[in-house]
């Protein structure tokens, strides 16, 4: 059977990344070198620790190339896995954005309709405003992820997601005055 060359590619990429970190990223983005002399005292500079980290990466990459390029248990990553992973991450990003902005957006709409000048920042610890972002974003996140796995969108999923997120909000918010549900610490 033909071996996968996954380890060889991974090893090569890791090695290249390690070299980039050691010779480009660390020198350009660190103030002190490996060892520094300050007022006649020699101390370890900020560049040493990341250089050691990158050395671990280089050793790992080198080992993959030298010792494990013909290993039997090399993973075969399918494009399907990568695409599904991207879809999962995109769903979460979208839901977190809804979580972050739906509360302030609701207030803006409310202000437009009522002519008021309410600010989300001042209402972020007041029900029902403080729950809007978490409930909408959370429900969206669970619904999207479940639907991705199931391959279909169902009203039942939406209901289950809403109930789960409501319970979660109750667990984190009701008993504790000092806990802020997302996104209320930022806005």
């Amino acid at each position: 059977m033909r071996h996968s060359n996954g380890n060889l590619i991974l090893g090569g990429v890791t090695l290249a990344f390690a070299i980039l970190v050691i010779f480009v990223w660390i020198p350009l983005d660190t103030q002190t070198g490996l060892i520094e002399k300050v007022r006649r005292q020699v101390t370890i500079g900020d560049a040493l620790a990341p250089t050691i980290a990158a050395s671990f990466l280089a050793i790992g990459g080198l080992m993959l190339v030298l010792f494990e390029r013909n290993a039997d248990d090399q993973p075969r990553v399918s494009s399907q896995d990568v695409l599904f992973g991207l879809a999962l991450v995109a769903s979460v990003i979208l839901s977190v954005l809804v979580m972050r902005y739906s509360g302030p957006a609701t207030i803006s709409i409310w202000n437009l309709l009522s002519g008021g000048e309410a600010e989300y920042r001042l209402l972020r610890d007041t029900a029902p405003w403080k729950y809007i972002g978490f409930l909408l974003g959370g429900t969206m996140m669970i619904t999207l992820l479940v639907s991705l796995v199931e391959g279909r969108v169902r009203a039942r999923t939406l209901l289950i997601a809403f109930v789960s997120v409501s319970v979660m909000a109750a667990i984190y918010d009701l008993p504790f005055d000092d806990l802020l549900l997302p996104p209320n610490g930022d806005v």
């Binding site: 996954g6 101390t43 620790a49 980290a53 790992g60 494990e68 669970i142 796995v149 979660m168 806990l179």
Partner: protein, 529 residues
């Protein structure tokens, strides 16, 4: 203050800590209640396929810290809960393995080999009793070894290791963890390197936060919760969901089997199981004491050794391993359960976490403050009380209370948890994801933390796709700061000697062992290819 005084203070700290309520005038401390809640939660979580102890710990930690605050009084209730979860999840994992041929936790896979055939033969409750007895025995044995070994190891480290040797020991631990976790030493070392690199971003001693690319967001580094929970939990959720998506979900209900015959464990049966339990407990404890080697390997070794003995000693009418032998369950469960206690030996004596549960204990200690797991904990000061040592003995007491719960109510509760397998995994996993993100947010209270966690989750997912174990990453992230600090101190203590790692025979030995273990593992892997 003698040793016995410290032990007594540790016991009192658990039993006479802040009172929650009283029964007939007897005060019940909050720590006792938290150990009980943690233990029951652990069994339920372990019995739910797709969940595991670390997930429950990750979600519970910010809630617990909010309840108990950032005071030393919070340490024992919070860590007692985590210890309860750790122990409960170990026995809970056997439930779906035996009843439904689905391991609740990865280390319970070998339990399915004999557990499910016993269920098919109408011996489900007996199989659960065997699993519980073996698991509780292995766990108790391992805790005794922990309590005896950890203080001695810590005292040895404090007596003989100075800064250069401690730095070399940290390098040895990281190399060892990288080389032995997962099937590939190269990928383990790579994972360790990634973890170290991540923890060094935005930190350092200079005015400019190193490697932050001028970004304010990176200037404070990555919060530990975002990296640990991201790589360990969110990455696992993404991978599990991908696997679920691939699976052709089976329709219909799982087959039902009716219990037949006596389901109790007789004294004669217990005596027959004891040699298997004993051997596996020794194997699991020895493996658990080495940081990074998981309970799955212990279970496999325990099962293999048990199978060899069973083949030699069994009578003709007794089933073989793999055909419903209760000895198979005993060998597996005793081995995987005895790992959990021994895994805390490197945590408490050296400050080096060896598994995911230990990572969360360190995370709790770091979040709350007042307790830094490591050799300095075991300073038996005579004139003033060392509060960290009292906490350490309090933790040992908590472990024995969890064991007592395991022996008394654990079996009963475990046998009622079969229902957890019915929870649909594809709904549970997104809920766990949102819970984890919420847990991170309430700790950090900034949306950046969610983006960081998501980024680390994506990294954890890719690592899993490429068969790179995420545990070396997490352990390296936790130990990275300590490694740098220790190296700076060693460098200063040796008067700026760049070769401080080779300044004593012990540190030379540690460094040689670090190189040796990596070369040996790499050579073995090449030979196997």
């Amino acid at each position: 203050m003698g040793t016995l005084d410290y032990i007594w203070l540790g016991i009192l700290a658990v039993f006479q800590g802040p009172e929650l309520f009283s029964i007939f005038g007897l005060p019940v401390s909050v720590t006792l209640v938290m150990i009980l809640i943690g233990f029951l939660t652990g069994i339920a979580v372990g019995a739910t396929p797709g969940l595991a102890g670390p997930i429950a710990m990750a979600i519970a930690l910010p809630i617990l810290i909010s309840i108990f605050g950032y005071t030393p009084d919070a340490l024992l209730p919070v860590m007692g809960f985590l210890i309860g979860v750790m122990k409960g999840a170990t026995i809970g994992g056997a439930v779906p393995a035996i009843l439904f041929n689905t391991p609740g936790t990865p280390d319970a896979y070998m339990t399915t080999l004999d557990g499910y055939p016993m269920t098919q033969k109408g011996q489900a409750r007996k199989a659960l009793r065997v699993a519980h007895f073996s698991s509780a025995s292995g766990d108790t044995f391992s805790d005794i070894v922990l309590i005896i070994c950890a203080p001695f190891l810590a005292l040895l480290v404090e007596a003989y290791l100075d800064f250069p040797e401690k730095t070399a020991l940290l390098i040895l631990s990281l190399s060892f963890i990288g080389a032995v976790i997962g099937g590939s030493p190269a990928k383990g070392v790579l994972s360790t390197g990634l973890g170290l690199l991540a923890v060094y971003i935005g930190t350092g001693e200079d005015f400019y936060p190193r490697m932050s690319m001028g970004s304010d967001h990176l200037s404070q580094g990555f919060p530990i919760a975002t990296s640990v929970l991201g790589v360990l939990i969110i990455g696992a959720v993404f991978k599990e969901m991908t696997d679920l998506w691939h699976q052709q979900r089976k329709s219909g209900t799982p087959p039902q089997f009716t219990d037949e015959g006596n389901q109790r464990l007789t004294r004669a049966e217990i005596c027959r199981l004891l040699p298997f339990v004993g051997r596996s407990a020794l194997i699991g404890t020895a493996i658990g004491a080495l940081p990074g080697i998981g309970s799955t390997l212990a279970a496999t070794l325990g099962y293999t050794v048990g199978r060899a003995r069973h083949a030699r000693t069994k009578s003709a009418n007794v089933p073989d391993f793999g055909e419903g032998a209760s000895e198979g369950i005993a060998a597996t469960e005793a081995a995987n359960s005895s790992v959990s206690g021994a895994n805390l030996i490197p945590v408490l004596s050296l400050g080096i976490p060896g598994n995911a549960a230990a990572v969360f204990l360190i995370l709790a200690a770091e979040s709350i403050g007042g307790f830094n797991p490591g050799p300095s904990v075991f300073r038996f000061t005579q004139d003033v009380v060392n509060p960290e040592l009292v906490i350490a003995f309090g933790l040992f007491t908590a472990m024995f209370i969890a064991n007592a719960l395991n022996w008394t109510i654990g079996g009963l509760f475990m046998r009622s948890m079969g229902v957890m397998v019915r929870i649909p995994k594809h709904i549970l996993l997104p809920t766990v994801l949102l819970l984890t993100l919420t847990a991170i947010y309430v700790q950090e209270t900034r949306i950046e933390a969610i983006w960081f966690a998501l980024g680390f989750g994506a990294l954890g997912y890719v690592m899993r796709l490429l068969a790179i174990s995420p545990l070396p990453f997490v352990i390296a992230f936790i130990l990275g700061g300590k490694l740098e600090e220790s190296a700076r101190q060693a460098f200063a203590a040796t008067g700026g000697d760049a070769w401080f790692l080779f300044s004593s025979p012990i540190s030379i030995g540690f460094i040689a062992a670090s190189i040796g273990i990596i070369l040996f593992s790499a050579g073995k892997k090449k030979h196997a290819a």
